[in-house]
Amino acid sequence: MATKPDPVFALIDCNSFYASCERVFRPDLAKVPIVVLSNNDGCVIARSYDAKPHVKMGEPYFQIKHRLEQLGIVAFSSNYALYGDMSERVMSLIESMLPAVEVYSIDESFADLTGIADATAMGRALRSRILQCAGIPVGVGIAHTKTLAKLANHTAKRLQAHTGGVVNLCGDHERDWVLRNTAVSEVWGVGRRMTAHLESMGIRTAMDLAKADPWSLRKKFSLVIEKTARELSGTSCLALDEPDPPKQEICCSRMFGKRLTELAPIKEAVATYMMRASEKLRAQKSYCKKIRVSIRTGMFNPDEAKYAKGVVVTLPYPTDDVRLLTKAAVDALEHVFQPGFRYSKAEVLLLDLRQPGEFSDDLFAVNQPAEASRVMAVLDAINDRWGRGTLRAASVPGNPDWGMKRELMSQSYTTRVDQLWRVSCE
């Protein structure tokens, strides 16, 4: 009698992804340590391997600028156009080799290797193809469950030199060795607080967790940690590609590139954030009935007066019309803005989201006019084709002086025809 084969999962994870993307078009930086900064060049959000010993995640750029220069570490503003395009390339390359792939984040994806005779060889083939075709080094972890695949990947990175970047934990011997030699805090989904709970129960290694009684974990903590324990012991509980349900709220919030004291530029910022939030809203085909608009000053500078306030507005009907949303948001801003403060950030939040069909069309209720939906469809089609922001509300400036500070940004080598990589013929 034929039995169903045990599932096999791979986790393919790009090494120091943002730094690796920068290096594809800057071969001169192949051996130079790199850090990538958050929006507004605030703090370090990514480091190449050779930068890790010198720089901590989250360190504020202005504090370490001098040290970076001394150590010859190169800093970049985050170039999400580049990282997004390179991510799509990597994911497409994986999809061209394997039938079932779940893109998990910008730099990692799970794939189904069930039934492939030599999974390790497939892991090596993936690695070399992605390195050749995208120039991005990846680690591949292979195991019978997603949690173990994640652990295998972690091991592949930790022991890069021994493993060649591919670790297969389908065998009991290898799996047990890794479980014994991994702290429970390193396990996928085990946060700092959970680690403290587990350690107080004497669960210190991944092996301890794999051997713990799943039922009592569930009773004591949650279903999530029970599944984690079962997955570590080799029983697959998490399937590939469980799509996220539509979000229950949508947020767009950003720091301004500089402090703002006047209402007019803050209105522009709120209109800009609302444009982005409403794009997300329409992309998941939801409507929203309430919005919240808030602004605040910087909260850390002891010499500045602090202020933060938000207001919720209920809309006349569930809508995805950026014109109505923007008007409501900008009007609401009048209620929270107080002169005399130096504002650093605004946020728009779309609340009370509904899917079409979730609100009943009562006979006398006002609904979004059909033509508004058509206008939004045209707006999205135009911006999809000619680039975000091509068609926008008049209150949204093209190149605002309060915009994000990105002084160290590399070119958009792969997405802008005026910024292509230049290759010398001399």
Partner: protein, 142 residues
Amino acid sequence: MSFTSLGPIAEDGVRLPLCSFKVPAGFPSPAADHIEKEISLDELLGIRAPHVYLVRIDGDSMQGGGIFSGDLAVVDRAIEAGHGHVVVALLNNDPVCKRLCLRGKSVILQSENPKYPDRYVLEGDEFSVWGVVTYTVRSHGH
């Protein structure tokens, strides 16, 4: 010079339906049975493939091969580079576009312009092929 007309060109990245016109109610179009897929430059040049990149040419050393300064080059990183390919190579970390010549154990980067001598890749050089140039695109004026 002779040329062959290829027919209509599809727009960038947009897949057009095989038959997009309205069929008149009275008399069916005699062409309807003969509609073929429209030609797409994206598809022809392969620029939507994840392993294909566009780069800008800077300099006149490949002029003899029809590659001029300012041209767009389509670079395929999935092709294994071989003798005679026009390649984008990294020579001591500088990206260069040359014809790859493999002669015995020597690797030579050839220009297609008498102004530029052959460049032998020496033992101390750091050298790798970044990708193979499959097409170039040039604007004729305007």
